[in-house]
Structures are given as C-alpha cells and as structure tokens.
C-alpha cells in the first residue's frame, strides 16, 4: 500500500528523513519497496533497501502563485495569456490548459486562481514525454509572444500522469511565493505488507508502527459524529437484517441528508491520487479516504434510489446470492453471481457485492442528495473466493476484507467518514448510526511468562521496554510477578491464544526491539544422534563415477509432456500424474521417462556440439494404480523412483590437429561406460542380455539384469524416433536404468583381491565359434574355467573371414595366468589352457585357431 509522509505526520511526529524511516519500517517487517519523492529533497546516495524515484522541486524556482488576469492569446485560439503574480512580480504566462481556456474572455479574475508556478530556469518533467524526461525552462517565443515560465500540470511535477490541465489549488492555499515543496512536497512510501499485517493496511496502522519504532505517541483521528437535534429528518433509518452472522458479523449505517455532491477539494484529491486512487466526487472520495486512513472499507448508497426502490423505508438484508442472480456493478459489468457471493440487498434485489464492489443502480451521482454510508464486517474467506470468482483483484476494499478487517473498526470508521462528509458536503446527520452487531469481536488474552522471551529469542528484553512496545501497539498489559497479562487490541485479528499467542507477542517484541539487538550465539543444545544416509551416499558415488567416465551431468524439468515421452517410446504407456493448471502443454505432466528428458536435452544441444555425452539422475513419478475414487490424497501419491539416464551422440573424439576423423560414437562406447559403472559400484552378479524394446533398434538392444532383476535397457536408439528430435547425423546411444534398484543392489562394502608377487604367464588364444554364440558366453566360460589362477581375460580381437568359414567368428583372448603362491611354469599354463579349450569345445563346439 502507499503511505504519503504528509499523511502519516497527521498522526505521528516524524523527525527522521524518509529513507531512514523506510529502513526502520523494512527491518520491522513492513517492507518499503520504493519511495517516490514528490518535491522533497532526495538522498544523494541510496544505501537503503528501498528503490527511489521522483524529483525535487527547487524552492527558489517552483513556487505557489496566483493568476490575476486571463486574456485570449492574440494569435492562437487554443492558448490564453495569464498574468501570474509569484510574490515577486507579475509574469505573463502562455498556456493551453483546458481548465483555463474557460476564462478566455474573463480579464481580471474575481478570486485569484492559486496555481503552481515554475520560474525561468526551473527543472520539471516534460509534460509531452512518456518517460519522465526532465527539461529546464528557458526563454522562447510562442506564436509571436515571449514565454519564459510555466503554470504546472501534475505530470510536470511528477504528482501523477495528469497533463490535461493545470493544478488549481484550494483558495486557502498559502500566499504567492511560498515554495511549492513546503506546501505539498511529500515522500510516498510503497509498502509491501505480508498477510499477517492486515491490521496495517491503513495510514493509521503504519503510523502506529512508526510510533512503536520511534517511541513517539500516536494521535488517532477523532471519530465523533455530530447529530443535528434541531432539524427533523424526512427519512426513517432503514431496517437491517443479517441472514448469516457468521459471514457478516457487523453492519453499520449512517444517513447523511441534504448534501451537495461535487468534486472534492484539491488537497483531498491529491491525497487520493498519490495513494493510488482516482478521485470521483466528494462522497466516494471521503469513503475511500477514510478507508485508506483507518483500514475499514466503506460504501455509499444513494438513499434516494433506495427509498424509491422500497416505495417506503428501505429494508436492507445481507445474504448469499441465489444461483445465477444478476447485478450490474459500478464498473458497468453485468455479473452473474453464485451461491457463495455475499450481497447487500434491499426489497428490490441486490444492491452491491458485499465488501468488494457497489451496484450501478444505487451509485452516488451528482444528483444524489441523501447518502447512506455503510461500514460492515465480512468473512475474509468468503470475500477471497468472490474476488477470484468475479475477477475483482484490484478492488482496494476487497484487498482489505480478504485479509481480515476487525469488526471493531466498523462503527468508528463509519462515524469518521460520515462526519467528514457532513462537513464537506454541507449536509446534516439527523439519526444515530445504526449498528447491527450479532457476533461481537472478542479480543484474545495471553499470559506471557517473562522467561519465555529469553527462551525464544536468546535475550531478555527489559520488561519495562517490553511493556512500552506492547502498549505502543495498543496491547493492554498488566504486569504480574513473573508474567505479563496481555490483551490484544480490538483492531487485531492475528493474535492467538496460549502458545500461539505467546509466539505472536514475542514476534511483536522482537521486531520492534530490533533483530539487530538480538545477539548471535552458537547452538549449545544437545546434539541429536547422527544417522547414516547410505542411499544418498550411493547416489552421490554414482554421480561421481559417471563424471569420472567423462559424462556431463544435466538436470532437466520434472514437468514434461506425454507427447515427448510417446515420441521416444517411453517404456510404460499407462497414465501420468497430470497437472490441473499447466503453464504450457510442454510441461503438463510429471515425467515417467527420464530418458525422454535427457534426449530432449541432447536434441537441443546437437546443433552446436560435436560430441554430447550426458547423464541425469532424477526421479520419475509413477501413479498408483488406484481405481478407488475415495482413496485419500495420501494413498493417491505417486511412487517417486530414482532413475539414471545416459545419452551419447556425436563424434567419438573432438576435432583436433591429432584427430580429424568423423567417426561417431558407437554402441561400444556406451557399453564401456556401462561395464565401468558396474565395475565401479562392485556389482558382479549381473548379466547383459539381448532384448527388444520399441525405443531401441532391433538387434542393438541390451537389457541389464542385476541378480536376475531387470534394471533397464541400453543400446542404439531407434532412428525413427531420434530423427524426430533432430538427432540425425549419428546413432543415438542411450541407457535408462532404475537407479533406486541399482542402489538397493550396491554392496555396502567389497573386498579386494591381493596383488600377486609372482610373475605372470601371458599368452594369446583364439577360439572359433558359431556366430550365434555371444562373446560373453565364451568370456565367462574362460574366466570360470581358469579359476583363481587366471587373473585377467582380455578379448582383444573379433575376426570374421573366409579363412575360418561362414557363420563363424574368431575370438582372440589375452590370458594372464598368475599364482598367488608360486611362480607358474609354461607347463602349468598349458595345462590350464588345454582345460579351457576342451571345455569350450565341449560346451560351444569351439575350435582353437592357429594352434
């Protein structure tokens, strides 16, 4: 909300400059986001938390002045020549302001017109520029007449965007020559209030905070009403019926008779404008002014219209709308209401949407002479809902009611506004304010043991100071031996009872006392028992392992689209967790395929990368298969499974002077990574089997199983789907593993094999086998047959050719035999080799090559 300094000063003395005040408020939890300086001198360097805008008005150059005479410009129809007295002399000023054109033929004006005058050399905003460009007045000729000074519009002074006419001050404005800054110079604080600060959505609320922070006494506004006993009213007060007191705990109404509706005086219009509201007429302006001042929204009804509709004394009823009931609101919108919309109605139907916006029919117009002022209390949750239903988020009244306004405020505020309007509109109040108050607001009482302050804050605020702080915020405090008995003020709805109330009070004490005044200490409370976090350790170990293998980690959106996942043939085609309010169709589901996300990343990078080798570790979300519609939301939560996905795409090696080959990464680059992962996490009981999967190319699809449990697929992706992602120049290699499962299988420890001190015997053998026998069958057979003596089995050659016959392949192995207990002889090695060859022949029909 916006709070002008001049207005705050009506209720509290302020002796510090605006940016110091802004810091004080910000640190106490009322964040001043910006200060708009309107004429007042601005700090040269802004070191506060707050953004600063606005302009200074030089007291020498920008002053109050009077127009004493107005004549038509001899050479231009749309200009006038005004004689302006600025306290020092008479100056001719040429202006095209529409509000002076009326006086074109007037000559000497009867009552001097009080205006803002900029002398030659003054710096102002350029009224014709949209971006607050400043300009300095200099001598020039306009249509044959010399001009050197200016009568100012609000825009030129940075008051508002208004440039249609010049400012005309009230007749009681100070004398000509007075610096303008001394009259209306201001600093406007733009304060962002958190939801717990609803009691501060008013000038008075902020002034009260300043009072507490600066230890200064508040001067609350007078809320008395003057009832004229001498006159007799032509009206009866309306009857008021509240159908649902839980939704409308209070309704007050004051009738002001025989008033004159007209524009408000300039000072009032100015306050509303700089506080962000548009002046309408004195009735509407006063209700808005008092709402901003006190925090309680008000509404004015044209009582002539109400009486006319009732054909008698109006009967006001507040109730929920009937379904599809209609009301045209002040903004001209025809609204269809629902059964949760609260209404103020009369005999003839809806008058206004309670607490948010009035109806067009009972709007106060220039012809209105009798006005009914309403100040009521509405249920904040109901108002919040209606604001959303009716798209009325900009309503200032709705803003306040939806955050909570204490019912205690209604009567005082009503009387404050009514009295102000009586005087301003020259009307009279002949009936007492009607106050229907079925559910009385109760204030909470808190017993605060004094030790609680230290227990929570780590410092004992002196009790005297604690009492001062609370009293300055209008809490009622009685000191007992070891505790304070505290009653929350009427205007507070946010103060709880018992532990909650204590926390609320301690928060008030802490923020006014100042967080800066609380020391910094280190925890010396009993430290909890520490726990192992084995799964996380394993996850991080895998992350490091993948990085070591040269892969770049990525983190992608968890929100994805079914389309993307279908494109890459996500394994599981069942339903996703679907968002009810996605921001875009591309992010409308919670992903079920991590590989799809990783592939999308590869797709986005392939245009500018020669070589992509990436991995991601992250959850996928598997909906529970609940057909039970009555399942609680707890049971409906999806399973979050951690997965690992790897994607390789591009050249095998980056371009360099050493290597400029265009060779792509092939399946075996990925296979090497998979082998090394398994090696690195010390899982040996696994197998890799050929398989089929729609995402992968037939014949190049591998399934990883650990302890016979399928963990996921890897291989060359089906080019049909990858080409749709723009991955066309190379084969795309990918792995998609269930990481939660891998982590389950990862041993918590592993043992090493001792390194033998004896020399090894190394020899190569080649075995010819049928093409349909896969290499792993032979490799495992050799390893198994070789036993503990065979330390290493390296497949170094796979050969096919006519020399070995059709449908055959030769597998060349380098075998390292080494004993832990003796030096092996060639004979020992030969024995073992023969055993291997024999077994291979027996089991797979293998022939030794080149014996």
């Amino acid at each position: 909300m916006k709070a002008p300094l001049s207005w705050l000063k009506e209720y509290i003395d302020i002796n510090i400059d605006p940016h110091a005040l802004a810091d004080l408020l910000t640190f106490a939890g009322l964040e001043v986001e910006a200060i708009h300086y309107m004429g007042m001198s601005m700090p040269t360097q802004n070191k506060s938390h707050t953004k600063i805008t606005g302009m200074e008005w030089d007291p020498e150059y920008i002053v109050l002045a009077e127009i004493t005479k107005i004549e038509a410009h001899p050479n231009a129809d749309r200009l006038v020549l005004a004689e302006v007295f600025d306290g020092q002399g008479i100056h001719p000023v040429i202006t095209g302001a529409p509000n002076l054109l009326l006086y074109k033929e007037t000559g000497t004006v009867e009552t001097p017109i009080k205006i803002a005058y900029a002398r030659e050399g003054a710096t102002l905003y350029d009224g014709y520029s949209d971006d607050h460009k400043t300009t300095t007045l200099s001598r020039k000729t306009i249509r044959g007449l010399e001009s050197y000074s200016m009568i100012c519009s609000e825009k030129e002074l940075g008051i508002s965007e208004e440039h249609e006419g010049i400012i005309v001050f009230d007749t009681n404005a100070p004398k000509p020559g007075t610096p303008l800054v001394d009259y209306i110079g201001d600093a406007i604080f733009d304060i962002s209030l958190t939801p717990n600060m609803s009691h501060n959505t008013s000038i008075l609320g902020i002034a009260r905070e300043i009072g507490a922070l600066t230890n200064t006494k508040l001067r609350p506004p007078v809320t008395d009403i003057k009832i004229d006993q001498s006159k007799k009213s032509t009206f009866e007060m309306p009857s008021i019926k509240i159908v649902d007191p839980a939704l409308n705990s209070r309704f007050t109404a004051t009738l002001i008779e025989n008033i004159t509706v007209r524009p408000s005086p300039y000072w009032l219009q100015l306050r509303l404008k700089i506080s962000g509201m548009r002046p309408i007429n004195n009735v509407v302006d006063v209700t808005n002014y008092v709402m901003l001042e006190m925090g309680q929204p008000l509404h004015a009804f044209d009582y002539d219209v109400l009486s006319e509709r009732a054909k008698n004394t109006p009967a006001i009823t507040t109730r929920l709308a009937k379904n599809k009931e209609q009301l045209t609101s002040l903004d001209g919108v025809e609204r269809t209401l629902n059964t949760s919309t609260l209404l103020v109605t009369d005999n003839a139907g809806p008058l206004s949407i309670a607490g948010i916006i009035g109806g067009l029919k009972s709007e106060v117009t220039n012809n209105t002479s009798n006005v009914l002022i309403e100040a009521a209390s509405w249920d904040m949750i109901n108002i919040r809902k209606t604001i959303v239903d009716q798209q009325l988020q900009t309503s200032q009244a709705g803003y306040r009611f939806s955050r909570g306004v204490s019912p205690a405020l209604a009567l005082n505020t009503n009387q404050r506004a009514s009295e102000m309007l009586r005087i301003m509109g020259k009307g009279s109040i002949l009936h007492n304010t009607k106050d229907v108050y079925p559910i009385k607001h109760t204030t909470n009482k808190i017993n605060l043991p004094i030790g609680e302050i230290n227990r929570s804050l780590g410092i004992q605020i002196p009790t005297k100071e604690a009492i001062r702080i609370l009293e300055s915020l209008e809490f009622h405090v009685t000191k007992e031996k070891d505790s304070l008995q505290i009653t929350a003020p009427d205007h507070r709805l946010d103060v709880g009872t018992k532990e909650t109330g204590i926390a609320d009070i301690i928060e008030e004490l802490a923020r006014i006392w100042g967080f800066d005044n609380i020391p910094e200490t280190q925890l010396d409370d009993l430290s909890p028992k520490q726990h192992n976090n084995i799964n996380l350790e394993k996850e991080e170990l895998l992350r490091d392992l993948l990085v070591t293998l040269g892969l770049q980690e990525i983190v992608s959106y968890r929100l994805s689209s079914a389309k993307l996942e279908q494109l890459v043939c996500c394994e599981d085609t069942g339903p996703h967790i679907t968002l009810a309010n996605p921001i875009t169709p591309e992010r409308s589901i919670m992903r079920k395929s991590l590989m799809a996300s990783t592939l999308a990343c590869a797709s986005e990078n392939c245009r500018h990368q020669q070589r992509i080798s990436i991995f991601e570790i992250g959850p996928v979300y598997i909906p529970k298969n609940t057909t039970d519609n009555n399942a609680s939301s707890d049971e409906a939560l999806p399973t979050e499974v951690l997965r690992l996905s790897i994607v390789l795409y591009g050249k095998n090696e980056q371009l360099s002077w050493i290597n400029n080959s265009d060779k792509s990464m092939d399946y075996f680059v990925l296979k090497g990574i998979v082998d090394e992962i398994l090696n690195g996490i010390h899982i040996s009981d696994y197998s890799i089997e050929p398989d089929n999967h729609p995402a992968f190319q037939t014949g190049a699809t591998a399934l990883l199983l650990i302890k016979e449990k399928p963990i996921g697929h890897f291989g060359i992706l089906n080019s049909k789907s990858t080409s749709k992602l723009g991955l066309k120049d190379h084969s795309t290699l990918a792995a998609d593993f269930n990481l939660s499962a891998i982590i389950e299988f990862m041993p918590n420890r592993h043992t090493i094999k001792p390194v033998s001190k004896f020399p090894p015997v190394i020899e190569d053998i080649a075995l010819i086998v049928d093409e349909n026998i896969n290499s792993n069958q032979i490799t495992s057979l050799i390893a198994k047959t070789g036993g503990s003596i065979l330390k290493n089995t390296q497949l170094f050659d796979v050969f096919r050719g006519e020399q070995i016959g059709e449908h055959k392949k030769s597998l060349g192995y380098r075998l390292t035999y080494q004993s832990d207990s003796k030096t092996l002889t060639d004979k020992d090695a030969a024995k073992l080799r023969n055993k291997i060859v024999k077994t291979a022949k027996k089991l797979y029909g293998a022939q030794i090559r080149d014996s």
């Binding site: 640190f27 939890g29 964040e31 360097q45 070191k47 938390h49 953004k51 919040r384 230290n454 227990r455 929570s456 780590g458 410092i459 909650t500 926390a503 609320d504 928060e507 802490a510 967080f515 609380i518 020391p519 910094e520 200490t521 280190q522 409370d525 009993l526 430290s527 909890p528 028992k529 520490q530 770049q552 980690e553 990525i554 983190v555 992608s556 968890r558 929100l559 967790i577 679907t578 968002l579 009810a580 921001i583 919670m590 990343c601 986005e604 990078n605 500018h608 990368q609 992509i612 959850p619 609680s632 939301s633 409906a636 939560l637 979050e640 090696e653 360099s656 290597n659 020399q803 090559r849």
Partner: protein
C-alpha cells in the same frame, strides 16, 4: 615366409625413424604400406599359400601392418609437432593437447554439495522427502489453512487428483522429519526440487531447488538461528561476510526473518548485482511456529526450534554472475561446461 615378413618389418621400422620431414614420411608410407608395397602383396596373395600356412602368415602380416600404421601415426605426429628448423628432440609445446572428454556435475549439484558439506560440519544431516505432496503436508500442517490469505504467497501446481500438489517448498519435509525423529532433537537440512506456478522468465522458474534447515531441541533460540546462519554465510561466501536480519512473515515460523548478506562483489559499496544497496537477499528463516511443532509431535512448551530455507540456484547465480535463472534447466552444454 615368416622370416621374410619379420625382416620386412624391421627394415620398415628402421627406415621410418630415419625420415625427418613430412615428404619423406609420406614416401615411406607409400613404399611400405601403399597398395604396391611388399607387405600388401603378401596379404593379397595369401590364397596362393598352402592352406596350413595361411592363418599364421595372414595373422603375422596383419599384425605387422597394424604395428607399422601405428608407428607411422606416432612418428608423423612427432614430426608435425616439431618445428622444422630446430633440433629433432624439440616439439611445439604450445600445440593443444589431445582433447579429453571431461565430465562435470551440474552447477546446481556443485552448489548443493558445498551447502551440504557446510551444514554437515555443523551437525545438520540430509533428510529427503517426496516432491509430489498432499495439500495437508504442504500447507495445512504448516499452519497455512485452506483459503487463508497466506496461501497467496505460493502459486501452486495442482494435479488432477484433488489434494495432491507439487510441493511449493521443501517445508513439508519439516513435518516428515519431525514425525520421524520425535521426541528426539533434530538437526537436518531438507534439500530438493520445488515447484511454483509461474511464468518462466529470467528471474522466475517453475521448478527450483530449496535447502531447508530444521533444528529442534529444548534450548534453541533466535540468537542461535542468527549465529548459525551467519556462520553459514561466512563459509559459503567469505569469512568477512556480514549479515543482517529483517523481520518478515512465514506462517510456519514466528518470529520470522529474511537474512541479507553484505554484497560480496562490492563489499557493501553498492553495485549492479546488489542494486546499489550493498546487500543481497539470501534466505528466509524463523523460530518454528508452535502449531507446526505440535503438528510434528513436539510440545511447544518444552521444545523450540528454528527453520530456514535458501535457494541454491540463487546462491549459484550470485557466486558465478549468472543473470538468467533459465540457464539451470535449459542445460545448454556451453553453459554447463563453464563449471
């Protein structure tokens, strides 16, 4: 036959190392490995050999060919990297090395690990909880009732299952952790991904990480919160980092505060990053609200606690001068490779 091949090999090798410029080495290649070379002739004519000799000779010829090609590549590289005018042992040491495919962690995880380790030193262990949550855990048990105006502080992604939402903060983890450990003291951090219904811009994202912290015990005070968080700030930024605490509001803590750190880029003098204020907003914190303590099973008359929440992406942005949050999940490798 075998001997002939071996001889061929040794001659070729010795001739190779006599070559000292590109021309010579190219001629060498044509002579020993070209189509008309002796070695190629052997390989071409293998079929004419007696059947029993073929595999052995073929294998050896191929091996020699492979060895010679390798030796050729290696020698050629040595020659290319040598400036021609200086002596044979000198190489152009400024030539780029062989490209190495280095792997890296994502920047978010680099920063998360840094955060984890600092908190671990202070006795705060990691506690992870789910990302898709119930309204009850994400809001109600954290003292944010349905329809309360405080809910406006979080723009929420709802799923098609009523009451199931994407968590808007890691705070539901507070309840999970309390219910796990109650009535014992707690010191945990709760890291993880959170989601908000927002437009994606340079400053706002629909998903982001949070690291929440929670300490519960019988003697934990706001002053401890200040001291602990200042220590953290001094370790993640630098040891001279100053902190300040502003009053704020979160429904699940009371009193609540925002912690600012003095801008480490300008040492508080004012710069573009801190918008000339000299301070950077880093995290929100406060004393655990008694209602939340009760919901977690603790007695607010016996136990107190503090909680805080920070954004690792925000910290990364400040530390590395990242001006657009969209870099994080955009995964442009040209960005990720800079860490």
């Amino acid at each position: 036959m075998i001997e002939k091949l071996e001889k061929l090999n040794s001659i070729a090798i010795s001739e190779l190392y006599k070559t000292s410029d590109i021309n010579a080495i190219n001629l060498w290649h044509t002579k020993h490995l070209g189509k008309k070379s002796h070695l190629m002739a052997y390989l071409r004519n293998l079929g004419q050999l007696p059947a029993q000799d073929r595999p052995k000779v073929g294998k050896l010829a191929n091996e020699i060919r492979y060895k010679l090609e390798n030796a050729y590549d290696e020698h050629k590289n040595t020659l290319v990297s040598q400036p021609t005018t200086t002596n044979k042992n000198s190489i152009d040491i400024t030539l780029p090395g062989r490209p190495i495919n280095r792997g890296r962690l994502h920047i978010t995880n680099i920063v998360l690990r840094k955060i984890y380790s600092i908190w671990a030193d202070m006795g705060f262990q990691i506690y992870k909880s789910r990302e898709i949550e119930t309204d009850e855990l994400n809001f109600e048990l954290l003292n944010i009732p349905k329809h309360h105006p405080a809910r406006d502080m979080w723009d929420t992604f709802h799923t098609n299952t009523p009451g199931v939402i994407l968590r808007t903060h890691t705070s539901p983890g507070q309840i999970h952790a309390m219910r796990t450990y109650c009535p014992n003291p707690i010191r945990v951090i709760l890291p993880g991904m959170c989601f908000r219904y927002e437009q994606i811009t340079a400053r706002s994202e629909i998903q982001f990480n949070q690291v929440e912290g929670l300490a519960i015990g019988t003697n934990i005070r706001f002053s401890d919160l200040k001291g602990t968080l200042s220590t953290f700030a001094q370790r993640i930024f630098n040891k001279n980092t100053k902190t300040r605490f502003r009053a704020s509001h979160f429904p699940f803590t009371e009193p609540s505060a925002e912690m600012d750190v003095e801008c480490f880029l300008c040492s508080g003098k004012g710069c573009g990053v801190c918008k000339n204020t000299g301070w950077l907003e880093i995290l929100g914190c406060g004393m655990v609200h008694p209602t939340v303590l009760s919901n977690g099973g603790y007695d607010p008359n016996k136990h107190t606690g503090f909680a805080f929440g920070m954004g690792p992406e925000r910290i990364a942005m400040l530390k590395y001068g990242i001006d657009d949050i969209r870099y994080f999940w955009g995964n442009d490798l040209r960005f990720l490779e800079q860490f």
